[in-house]
C-alpha cells in the first residue's frame, strides 16, 4: 500500500507541470509563442534562474515550460531546483485576469552530511490587471516538498550510526503570497519584479528568511 501511494505521489509530482513565472498574456503578440526568461533574487537562498516557456491556446491561453534555479555558492551545481509546469488563464474581463499555475519541482541538495533529492509541487492562483505594456497583480499558493530521499554521508553515519537512509514522506511545505509586476520594453523584451512572503504549512516553524524577491528579464519571440 505504501509503495502504491508513493508511486502515485511521484507520478503526480513528475507529470504535473507548471512554472513559476507569471505570464502577461496581453503582451504576447500573435507570432510570439516562445519566452526565455532570466531571473535573479532571493528564493530560499540567493539564486539565479533561467527558463523557457511555450504558449498556445486550448480554449483558454495556456503556457508550459521549464526553469532551472541555482543558489549561489562555491559549488554551483550541488544544489539546484528544476520545475516543469503549466499555467492556464481561467478568465479575463477588461484586462483583469485570473490564472491557475501548477508546478512539479525537483530539488537537489548536497552538503558534507547528506545528499537530498526531493520531488514536490507548487500550486498558485495569480490575478491582476494586464495591459499590453505592463501588468500588476498578486499570487497565492502552496509549495510542497512531497517526498525526499535522504542519503547520508560516512561522516554523518560516524556521528549517528543508526541514521536511516531512504525516502521520507512528507518533508515540508510553505504557503507563499506576494505581488508581481511586469513592464514591456519595445516589442520583445520584458522586465519583471516579484516579491512576497512565505509561511510554513500547519504549525511548522517558518523559514529563517520567510521572504522572496525576484528581478527578471525576458525575451518574447
Amino acid at each position: 500500500m505504501k509503495t502504491l501511494l508513493a508511486s502515485m505521489i511521484i507520478i503526480v509530482a513528475v507529470t504535473t507541470a507548471a512554472f513559476p513565472q507569471n505570464i502577461n498574456w496581453r503582451s504576447l503578440g500573435e507570432d510570439q509563442q516562445n519566452i526565455i526568461r532570466f531571473n535573479f533574487g532571493y528564493d530560499g537562498g540567493v539564486a539565479a534562474q533561467a527558463g523557457y516557456y511555450r504558449t498556445f491556446t486550448l480554449i483558454r491561453p495556456v503556457a508550459t515550460g521549464i526553469d532551472v534555479s541555482v543558489p549561489m555558492g562555491n559549488n554551483l551545481l550541488d544544489d539546484y531546483k528544476v520545475r516543469l509546469g503549466v499555467q492556464v488563464e481561467l478568465l479575463e474581463i477588461d484586462g483583469f485576469s485570473a490564472t491557475f499555475r501548477l508546478n512539479s519541482a525537483f530539488r537537489r541538495y548536497e552538503s558534507e552530511l547528506v545528499k537530498i533529492s526531493s520531488f514536490g509541487a507548487d500550486y498558485a492562483v495569480v490575478a491582476g490587471y494586464y495591459s499590453p505594456t505592463w501588468s500588476v497583480g498578486g499570487e497565492f499558493g502552496l509549495d510542497k516538498a512531497i517526498t525526499s530521499r535522504l542519503m547520508h554521508t560516512d561522516r554523518m553515519k560516524e556521528s549517528f550510526p543508526g541514521i536511516k537512509d531512504g525516502w521520507y514522506v512528507p518533508t515540508g511545505g510553505h504557503w507563499f503570497y506576494g505581488i508581481h509586476g511586469t513592464k514591456t520594453l519595445g516589442e520583445t523584451l520584458d522586465l519583471s519584479l516579484k516579491a512576497g512572503a512565505t509561511m510554513a504549512q500547519r504549525n511548522d516553524e517558518n523559514a529563517a528568511v520567510p521572504l522572496y524577491l525576484q528581478l527578471g528579464f525576458g525575451v518574447r519571440f
Binding site: 539564486a47 526531493s118 549517528f160
Partner: protein, 327 residues
C-alpha cells in the same frame, strides 16, 4: 507523441527507483536523530527539576566537583568530552545535556521562555551530585560559560571556582554583538545558501525533524572558513532546535543581565578565549570579563571558539593550574 512517451518513461524510471526503497515516516523516533533519554532508558540520565537529563560522570565522586556546561542553548556535551581528563587530576567531572538539548528530554516551546529554567536545572544537578562540604567548580563553554555566570550571579557563595571558554556576553547586548559578528556571512557564499536552501526541503513542528534540520544547518555554519576560527564542526549527538529557537525568541523581549550581583564574587575566575576567533577578539574578552572583580584572562593560542575540542592541548595546562589552586 514522442514527448509524451519520454515523459511517461521518465515517470516509470523514477517510480521503479522509488519503489525499490522503503518509505519512511520522518516522525518516527530514532531514524534521523538519536533517541533521547526518555525514549531510550539505557542511556545514562538523572531525573531532576521535573525533567530527565542525559548525564554522566568521571572520577571519584568525593573529589572536588567540576560541572561542565555546554554551549547553545541547544548544544550538547559530546564535543566537550576532552574535559573528562581533569578526572585524572583529582576532580569529579560531571557532564549533562541541558534541558531540551542533546539527548536530554524535550519539552514544549513555552518551557524555555525563561533564563531561570536553565539556572534552576543547574542547581538541581549540583544538588544531585554534591556531597556535604564538596567544592564545586563550574566549567562552561560559550553559552555554558554565560549560564555559569548566571548561576554565580544568583548564588555567589555556592561556587568555589569558575572556568570560562568564550562566553558570548553576560549582558544580552554584548552577547548579541558577538553573535552578529560571527554570523555575518557572504550572501553569495556556499555556507549561507546551504543553510537557507534546507528550509525549502524540511519544515516541521516536531522535535525530530527540527533537530535534524538544525544539525544540518549548524554543520553548514561550521564549515571551513568560518569566522569563529574553528577547523570544522565538533562532534555532537543532537541539536535542541526548539530550545535554541525559544531561547533566542525569549531574550529579545527579556534581555538578561548576569552581572547585577557579580561584584560579590571575589574568587578568582579563569576566563579564556581563542586566538583564532576573529569574531571574539581581545577587546571583547576584556569587555565581558571585566564584570568579574578577580579575573585571570588568557588567550588560548592556536584555537578558535571550540576551545575544548580544537584547543585542548593549550587549554589543559592553564586550566589545570587554575583548578589546582582551588583543590
Amino acid at each position: 507523441m514522442k514527448n509524451q512517451f519520454l515523459l511517461f518513461l521518465a515517470a516509470v524510471l523514477v517510480m521503479t527507483a522509488f519503489t525499490s526503497c522503503e518509505i519512511l515516516d520522518p516522525g518516527v523516533p530514532g531514524q534521523l536523530v538519536p533517541l533521547t533519554v526518555d525514549e531510550d532508558r539505557s542511556l545514562p540520565s538523572i531525573s531532576v527539576n521535573g525533567t530527565m537529563l542525559h548525564a554522566e560522570t568521571f572520577g571519584n565522586p568525593t573529589n572536588p566537583m567540576i560541572v561542565v556546561l555546554h554551549g547553545g542553548p541547544g548544544g550538547d556535551y559530546r564535543g566537550l568530552l576532552n574535559l573528562k581528563k581533569f578526572s585524572e587530576d583529582g576532580f569529579f567531572v560531571v557532564f549533562y545535556d541541558q534541558r531540551g538539548s542533546g539527548l536530554s528530554k524535550r519539552h514544549n516551546k513555552a518551557t524555555y521562555f525563561s533564563e531561570n529554567i536553565f539556572i534552576d536545572d543547574l542547581g538541581a544537578v549540583i544538588k544531585y551530585y554534591r556531597r556535604p562540604g564538596q567544592k564545586v567548580i563550574l566549567m562552561g563553554h560559550s553559552w555554558g560559560a554565560m549560564l555559569a555566570t548566571g548561576y554565580v550571579n544568583r548564588y555567589p557563595n555556592e561556587i568555589n571556582g569558575v572556568v570560562m571558554m568564550e562566553p558570548g556576553g553576560f549582558k544580552w547586548a554584548d552577547a548579541e554583538a558577538f553573535i552578529k559578528r560571527h554570523r555575518s556571512m557572504n550572501l553569495m557564499g556556499e555556507t549561507i545558501n546551504d543553510y537557507l536552501f534546507l528550509d525549502q526541503l524540511i519544515t516541521s513542528s516536531d522535535h525530530i525533524l527540527l533537530d535534524y534540520k538544525a544539525g544540518l544547518q549548524n554543520a553548514a555554519g561550521s564549515a571551513p572558513g568560518n569566522k569563529l576560527g574553528d577547523a570544522g564542526p565538533t562532534p555532537s549527538w543532537r541539536s535542541g532546535a526548539v530550545c535554541a529557537a525559544a531561547s533566542f525568541e525569549y531574550v529579545k523581549d527579556h534581555p538578561f543581565d548576569f552581572t547585577s550581583n557579580l561584584s560579590q564574587y571575589r574568587t578568582k575566575v579563569l576566563f579564556t578565549y581563542g586566538e583564532l576567533d576573529v569574531a571574539y577578539g581581545t577587546a571583547h574578552a576584556e569587555l565581558v570579563s571585566s564584570a568579574y572583580p578577580n579575573v585571570q584572562l588568557v588567550e588560548i593560542k592556536g584555537s578558535g571558539h571550540e576551545i575544548p575540542y580544537f584547543g585542548m592541548d593549550n587549554f589543559y595546562p592553564i586550566a589545570k593550574s587554575y583548578l589546582n589552586t582551588i583543590k
